[in-house]
């Protein structure tokens, strides 16, 4: 690395003549001794997560600056919007952090915590900001599982921003036609299949949509194979060992086979590059009976006001149910019902010149007032704080449902660097099953790939 640095210097000198003019550089150098903070999210006004961006720009920044002023500190906060694929956002953050740059406060997906920590892109909060990291009063309100998302090797690396949960959505209108109840709650996979069969015979084009294949990417893992895996009592990684061609995986893949091999799902949709978009559109058009999705689907996709696939009668005709284990009690930890959750984190940049103020800003955005402000006007999401959730979710039956029924049984992905590759391998296994490979074979292939990814059979639980 040292060598590279030096050659960089040489090139820098060489290029100095060319770029003499170009060195306008960073927008630094502010007014006097004011503290300047930047905060970034994958959110942008007018685009992706516009509400979140507006909240930061219009509420957090003025309020926080005012609060600091009251304390006698001159703090200026700048919001750096972004609005791209999560992978690209992650790439940019990584590059920034690697080069000692980046915003002082930044939002990351909880699943990146491990790899960012390993790379030195993030530091444990106490190391950065001192005792305040642990003494923040918010921690008391955040459930342990949610706190776990921000932990790596037992240390807190960031603040949890929120979480989500996955359920089975179903179209009540179609269910009624197929003679199925409007308060449907399956207790085993077989009941899902039975419902699918009935839907099919009543003429529903796509009775069941559970994401599969590589085209949908992580959506296949989170809304597909992972909830099924925990439903069969397995996890991708347990106690530091990866799960190979285990029985739970075979069972999960077996369900795929029954759905897509049995004509209960649309195998081609799983292969299309825009398959997930289309599954949303089809659900909204009443062509899909049962769909496994997260609360995001309810909030942003079929939202009658501003969804991308609006359903005017969402509240009347869309039902939801918990995801059952394969059979009652067969889920992980002996659960009857399962789910998967993700969420994002708000981290303090180790390169920040003002880590304490940055931490203050981060905690400020997670204060009850801030969270209530952020989630008002129908912009509800599950916040990390139970005290806040109690208030804001009251008028939202689905969100309350997830918060109260789903989150207690949910599971999280392992926050380690190789997870994305493992996830792709899982997606490939589902793709294989959907296009006809036997589940046992697909599981065996998965194990082989897994060995290559995680560094040999030694890291795989037999």
């Amino acid at each position: 690395m040292a060598l590279r640095k030096r050659s960089m210097g040489v090139v820098a000198v060489l290029a100095a003549s060319v770029v003499g003019l170009a060195a306008c550089g960073q927008s630094s150098g502010g007014s006097g001794d004011a503290i300047e903070l930047t905060i970034t999210q994958n959110a942008i006004a007018g685009g992706k997560n516009a509400a979140g961006a507006d909240f930061i720009a219009n509420w957090v920044i003025p309020k926080f600056e005012a609060a600091q002023k009251a304390k006698g500190k001159d703090v200026k906060v700048k919001f750096v919007p972004s609005g791209v694929d999560d992978e690209q956002y992650k790439t940019k953050l990584s590059l920034d952090l690697k080069s000692g740059k980046g915003a002082d406060v930044m939002d990351i997906d909880s699943i990146w915590a491990g790899e960012f920590a390993e790379a030195g892109y993030l530091k444990p909060l106490p190391d950065l900001v001192g005792a305040e990291a642990d003494s923040w009063d918010g921690w008391a309100q955040i459930p342990e599982a949610v706190q776990g998302m921000a932990m790596y090797n037992g240390k807190k690396y960031a603040l949890p921003v929120g979480t989500d949960g996955r359920v089975l959505y179903f179209n009540k209108t179609l269910f009624q036609k197929a003679g199925l109840p409007a308060d449907w709650q399956p207790t085993s996979w077989q009941e899902i299949l039975d419902a699918g069969t009935k839907l099919k015979s009543s003429g529903v084009p796509v009775p069941i949509q559970i994401n599969a294949g590589t085209a949908m990417g992580e959506a296949t893992s989170m809304q597909g194979v992972l909830p099924l895996l925990v439903g069969a009592g397995g996890e991708v990684q347990q106690n530091g060992k990866w799960t190979g061609a285990s029985q739970p995986l075979k069972d999960a893949l077996g369900l795929y086979q029954k759905i897509y091999g049995g004509g209960l799902g649309d195998p081609k949709l799983q292969q299309e590059a825009k398959g997930r978009d289309k599954s949303f559109q089809q659900f909204a058009e009443g062509k899909i009976g049962i769909l496994l999705e997260g609360d995001y689907f309810w909030r942003s996709v079929i939202n009658p006001a501003e969804g991308v696939a609006k359903m005017a009668d969402r509240d009347q005709s869309v039902g939801y149910a918990m995801i059952p284990a394969m059979e009652p009690g067969k889920g992980i930890k002996g659960q009857d019902f399962v789910s998967m959750s993700g969420g994002s984190l708000r981290a303090v940049n180790p390169n920040s010149e003002h880590p304490k103020e940055a931490f203050e800003l981060a905690t400020f955005t997670l204060s009850p007032e801030a969270l209530k402000e952020e989630t008002k006007d129908g912009n509800v999401r599950i916040t990390p704080r139970t005290d806040v959730n109690k208030d804001i979710l009251a008028g939202e039956p689905l969100m309350t449902f997830i918060s109260e029924k789903v989150l207690p049984v949910t599971a999280f992905r392992p926050p380690v660097a190789v997870y994305p590759q493992v996830s792709v391998a899982l997606q490939e296994a589902t793709a294989a099953v959907v296009s006809g490979t036997a589940p046992d074979q697909a599981a065996a292939d998965y194990q082989k790939k897994l060995e290559g990814i995680v560094g040999g059979a030694g890291n795989i639980a037999s």
Partner: protein, 309 residues
């Protein structure tokens, strides 16, 4: 008095002219160097240096995140070896060859030349319209274009199915390679068309006229008059188009490499590995292999088109 003047010696001209100094403007090496210096400096700093760095990364296990991001290890040829021992790499390579041959060499070069030839001595709105549409396909950003083609080839509401009355026909799934080949032909023809359009302008009309007077068919005119004149342009065109197509990852936006990797060309492979998987070292190694394949292709073209001179 008929022999009072001897016939003009046309052949002589070319034979002799080559011996002369080609520095017609009296540039001299020093000034030539000054002319080329700004470009070469930019290239050195922003191209050669980072490109060599990529080649170096290919020899490490560097990753975007994780432990390997903090302390990348030098692994020598491990990446290359694991690439070539990976069957998906080879299938990607084979798909790439199909992609380049089909969409670049046959599709873009063929169609581009055909359009340039058809419109060679036309002016006016028809030419403008055709050229404009072809160029539009080329110049639209890929993010937008991918939507256009999904809308065209979609299984349910796709325009193609509506036109052909073939409901549920799914070209992107059943013929993914053909789809991206046709797509890339549509997308990239403009460049070849423009290049050949400009090159055909350099073919002296008198040569074509004399060939036509000699009763040469269209094909013979092409072969005997046009082709020798634009041979250099054909070489350049093939080289560049192949190079770009090898490295084009736009098919990703259409098929995401699927279904089941059936359209995962090398550039998509690298994108998946490097950007989605974060394995930059491995991605760089595959890029190096692409570079070597391109080198072979370039040498092949050079042999093919220069040898006949």
């Amino acid at each position: 008095m008929a022999q009072a003047t001897s016939p003009p010696e046309v052949v002589r001209e070319s034979g002799q002219a080559r011996r002369y100094n080609s520095d017609a403007a009296g540039l001299g090496r020093l000034r030539a160097g000054a002319f080329a210096a700004p470009a070469l400096l930019l290239i050195a700093v922003f191209l050669v240096f980072p490109a060599l760095w990529v080649l170096y990364l290919g020899l490490t296990n560097y990753r975007l995140t994780g432990i390997a991001a903090a302390e990348p290890q030098f692994v020598g040829l491990d990446n290359l070896i694991s690439a070539v021992s990976d069957p998906t790499f080879w299938s990607s390579t084979w798909l790439t060859v199909q992609f380049v041959l089909g969409s670049a060499v046959i599709g873009q070069v063929g169609l581009g030349f055909a359009i340039a030839w058809l419109l060679r001595d036309r002016q006016g709105p028809l030419k403008r319209l055709v050229e404009g549409l072809v160029i539009l396909a080329w110049i639209l950003p890929s993010a937008i274009v991918s939507f256009l083609w999904v809308a065209l080839l979609d299984r349910d509401g796709g325009t193609l199915n509506a036109l052909l009355s073939t409901p549920q026909f799914a070209p992107l799934l059943d013929h993914p390679m053909l789809s991206i080949i046709v797509f890339n032909t549509w997308r990239g023809t403009a460049f070849s068309m423009m290049l050949y359009g400009a090159a055909l302008g350099n073919v002296p009309p008198s040569h074509l006229e004399s060939a036509r007077l000699a009763g040469a068919s269209g094909w013979q005119q092409l072969r005997d008059v046009v082709f020798p004149h634009i041979r250099g342009h054909i070489l350049t065109n093939l080289l560049l188009i192949s190079l770009w197509t090898f490295n084009d990852f736009t098919p990703f936006l259409l098929t995401a490499g699927g279904p089941d990797g059936q359209s995962e060309v090398l550039a998509v492979h690298v994108y998946k590995v490097a950007l989605q998987g974060g394995e930059l070292g491995y991605g760089a190694a595959v890029s190096t292999i692409i570079l070597l394949i391109n080198l072979v292709v370039a040498v092949f073209y050079l042999r093919l088109l220069r040898s006949k001179k």
